[in-house]
Structures are given as structure tokens and as C-alpha cells.
Subunit: 238 residues, 2 copies
DNA sequence: TCCTAGTTACGTACAGCGTACGTAGTGCGC
DNA sequence: GCGCACTACGTACGCTGTACGTAACTAGGA
């Protein structure tokens, strides 16, 4: 057997087949799909090499013929859900198009709640990631700023989408992993926070908390953040 | 022994001492400091219950008297480094003050490179976190917008700082964990990316890449992002 | 004052993880 | 048609978080 990962390597640069030997039983897409299925059903922690192998019906170590490290499996997963991004025809209104892209990313994350946890560690510029960036650049064609500024816009916007949606999901998902309900958890946290506020050590924070009435509309907060980012790049508003 | 974590709980709401029984050998701060020391020296993966116990010179399971779950240990760590935030006297220039806060957060993260990896999972509103938010609100006193908008500004700014700095750190840290150098890794990735671009499938991306000359100044990119966020909240620019 | 109940301390043990390594079988390229 | 690169995968190792049980200790109530 060839030495495994003695040298850096990008999984996408590695050909799927090399020609010699028995035909591989699975494609990379098969493996990614199996991992995604498990993550959707049982969360990211359910994605173990053994579980993925079981889902595919093969031995655990066989996976290592396709994926040199588990990290690369994550990369396959991110690429797989990247295919859910619709590459639509740009409308000519870059703001509307970018908002649409962002909302779509958010929707994908809500469909696959493990994505935000994976995002910070993925560097591979997978095919579907490249496709998505290219699509964003197409949407930004009407925006008259240097290309470098456009990529900064894309990065900032995607970062915000990931952060916001990821935080929302993480808060919600905590309940799934813990042996108590989200309501119980929230009640305990709020009781603690109330106690802290009652100490009077945080007057401005207290004011901010008591000022707001009713529950926070996360979707509205999210959309406001997006609009602010777009504003910050809009030459017509400067 | 009392049943462990049968009900949700906030580590900060739990008293350090309960009065009965032998005097605890450590404070929460001792434990947090030990964990931080390990994480600084060996990375977050070096922070195992056994390692922390060894650093403190006690048995592994003794830690569970102080910290019901490992997750809570993380919370202690985040709070510990939160004390490094300087609560300075607001200058009256909210933009300058918030830039200073952001740069300080970035500096803390570069001192403790494991922080960004931990941030998304921490929800506890630890004492130092509350203190920091309160400080930010003090800096934002001159800004004439509703309190809710101020907290949105704080959240957005901190999110961007974490995302950007975290990405930079993660890219740099990959080399530490892998058996090859950062240069080798980068060369391989660039070679792959060059190959992708050569396919002609991503014309706009290609243009953006070739347009830029020389290496990217990450610090400048970071600062531009901050300024844009601040612009987006500045009533004087609307 | 003594007793006891609530704590702390921590050794042992278990299930599960990623994956190194070795071996057996397969089929393409020379 | 031979050889070798490749696939397949069982076994095993070191590591993880932590459940559980036991021993030592001390503050509060009698």
C-alpha cells in the first residue's frame, strides 16, 4: 500500500480512480451522501468512520481507501450540500441577488444543522464552493467596485450568515444532545441572568434587557444584519 | 454523591463551596488557569480531563467535583481569558472605542489561538463576558440609537472579529497539527487551485485571482471589514 | 460532645473513537 | 500471462469522556 498522507494533499486533486486493481465499490459522492444522511439523522457526532462504513455496508477501514483522514470526509460533506445552492440567472440587482444567496445558505444550514459546526475548519475550495463563489461574482457584476472588494463582500456576508445561523442552530441543538428540554434549559439560564442583573453590576445591560419586550425575532435580526453589510458596500449610499 | 447533571445548570450559578465536607483543594480559577496553560502550550486538543488533572496534580475524576461536564471546563476557559479585556474609560468617540475593543479581542485570540474554536459553542454569559458587553455598551453611550441596535452592533462586530481572526488562525494552525510545513501545504493548495482555474470553469474567480498582485494583507482586510460594520451603524453617514 | 449526612478525592472500568498495520484477493497494463 | 498497484477489511492500540463505587473528611444538629 502507498504511504498514507505523508505529504499534504487536497482531496479534490486526488483522482477518483487510478486505473489499476479492483473497481472501487463506491464513489466519493456515495460516501459523502452516506455521511450527510447520518449527520442529518443523528447529528455530526453520529458521523464516525464506523457508522459511515456501516451505512455503506463495508468495513470501516475500507473508507480509508477513499478518504485519507476524517477531516477529508468533512470536506466531502460540505461539498455535497454545496450542490444544493441554486445557480440562478443574475437579475441585475446585486443586492437582491446576494440577499437571495444568503437566505438560501441559511435555508441549507437549517436543513443540515451540522454545517455551521464544520464550516470554520474547511479550507478545500471544493468544486461546489468554487461554483458558488463564481455565481456570487456573477451576481455582483453590476456592482462597480474592484474585484478584491467583491470577494471581501462575499466573505463578510457568508461569515455573517454562518455565524448568525450557526448560533441559532447551536442554541436549539443543545436541547437535542442534553437530557432535558429546551424550555427547562432556557428557564435556568434566564433565572441565572436575572440574578446577575439583580446585582446591579451591569446597569446598561440591564436597561437593554428590560427595554426589549417580548421574544426576539431572530429572522428579523438576521435580515437586518445582512442589509447593513450590503449597505456598507453600496456606492450609492456613500 | 449527588446525581450529576440530571437537570440543566449554569456553571456560574453553582456556588464554589457548599460548606460541608473537606475543603476543596482548588478554586474554579485554578482549574481554568491550568486548562488555559495547557491549551496555550499544546492546543485545544491537549486539553483533556486527564491532562488538566495532571497539571493540577490531582486525580482525573476529582475534576468532576468542580466541573460537571467538559463543556463547562470550556466555559471556564473562555471566562478566564475574558479577564484580559481592558475596561478602559470611554473616550466619547464610540467608533474609536469599538475599534479598540475589536483589536483587543483579536490580540487576545492571537495570544490564545484556541479561543475561536471554542466561541461558537459557549452560551454561558460568564461574568467576564457580561462585564465586556457592559463595557461595550458604555463605549456606545454617545451613539444615538435604540439599545437593541447597540446590542446588534456588538454581536455583529464580535462575530466578524471571531470569524476573521479564527479563519486566519485556523489556516496557520493547520501546519502545527500536520506533519508537513505551512509552505508545503500552501504550495499544494495553490497548485490545485491553479489547476481548477486553468479549466476555465470559473472565469470571474480567475479574473479576481489574477488581478490581485502579491500576498493579501490580512490585517488590512480585517480592519476594512470592521470599518464597514461601524459605517453601517453610523447615523452620521446615512 | 458526638454522630451523621453531605462533600471531596480518586481508582477502576467501559464503551467508543480515529486509525496504523498486515494480509488476502483482484484485475489492468506491460 | 505475469506482476504489481490497487481494493477490502480484520485486528489492535492508544486515547477519550465519564459512570460508578469506596474511602476520607468535616460542618451542623442532637
Amino acid at each position: 500500500m502507498a504511504d498514507r498522507a505523508a505529504v499534504p494533499e487536497v482531496i479534490w486533486a486526488r483522482p477518483e480512480r487510478t486505473g489499476r486493481g479492483p473497481k472501487p465499490a463506491f464513489t466519493r459522492a456515495d460516501i459523502a451522501a452516506a455521511a450527510v444522511r447520518i449527520a442529518d439523522a443523528s447529528g455530526l457526532d453520529g458521523v464516525t468512520m464506523r457508522q459511515v462504513a456501516a451505512e455503506l455496508g463495508c468495513g470501516t477501514m475500507s473508507l480509508y481507501n477513499y478518504v485519507p483522514r476524517k477531516e477529508d470526509l468533512y470536506e466531502l460533506m460540505i461539498d455535497a450540500i454545496g450542490s444544493e445552492h441554486e445557480v440562478f440567472e443574475p437579475s441585475g440587482d446585486w443586492r437582491a441577488d446576494m440577499l437571495r444567496n444568503a437566505e438560501e445558505t441559511r435555508a441549507i444550514m437549517y436543513r443540515h444543522t451540522w454545517v455551521p459546526r464544520l464550516m470554520p475548519g474547511v479550507f478545500g475550495f471544493s468544486p461546489n464552493t468554487l461554483r458558488y463563489v463564481e455565481h456570487c461574482l456573477a451576481c455582483l457584476e453590476p456592482l462597480d467596485v474592484p474585484a478584491g472588494t467583491k470577494t471581501e463582500l462575499i466573505a463578510l456576508l457568508n461569515g455573517v450568515v454562518t455565524t448568525y445561523t450557526g448560533n441559532e442552530i447551536a442554541t436549539a441543538e443543545r436541547a437535542r444532545a442534553m437530557p432535558w428540554s429546551a424550555e427547562e434549559e432556557n428557564a435556568v439560564r434566564m433565572a441565572y441572568l436575572g440574578g446577575q442583573i439583580a446585582t446591579g453590576a451591569y446597569p446598561r445591560l440591564t436597561a437593554a434587557f428590560t427595554e426589549q419586550s417580548g421574544p426576539v425575532d431572530l429572522e428579523a435580526v438576521f435580515r437586518r444584519a445582512l442589509v447593513r453589510i450590503l449597505d456598507a458596500f453600496d456606492p450609492d449610499l456613500r
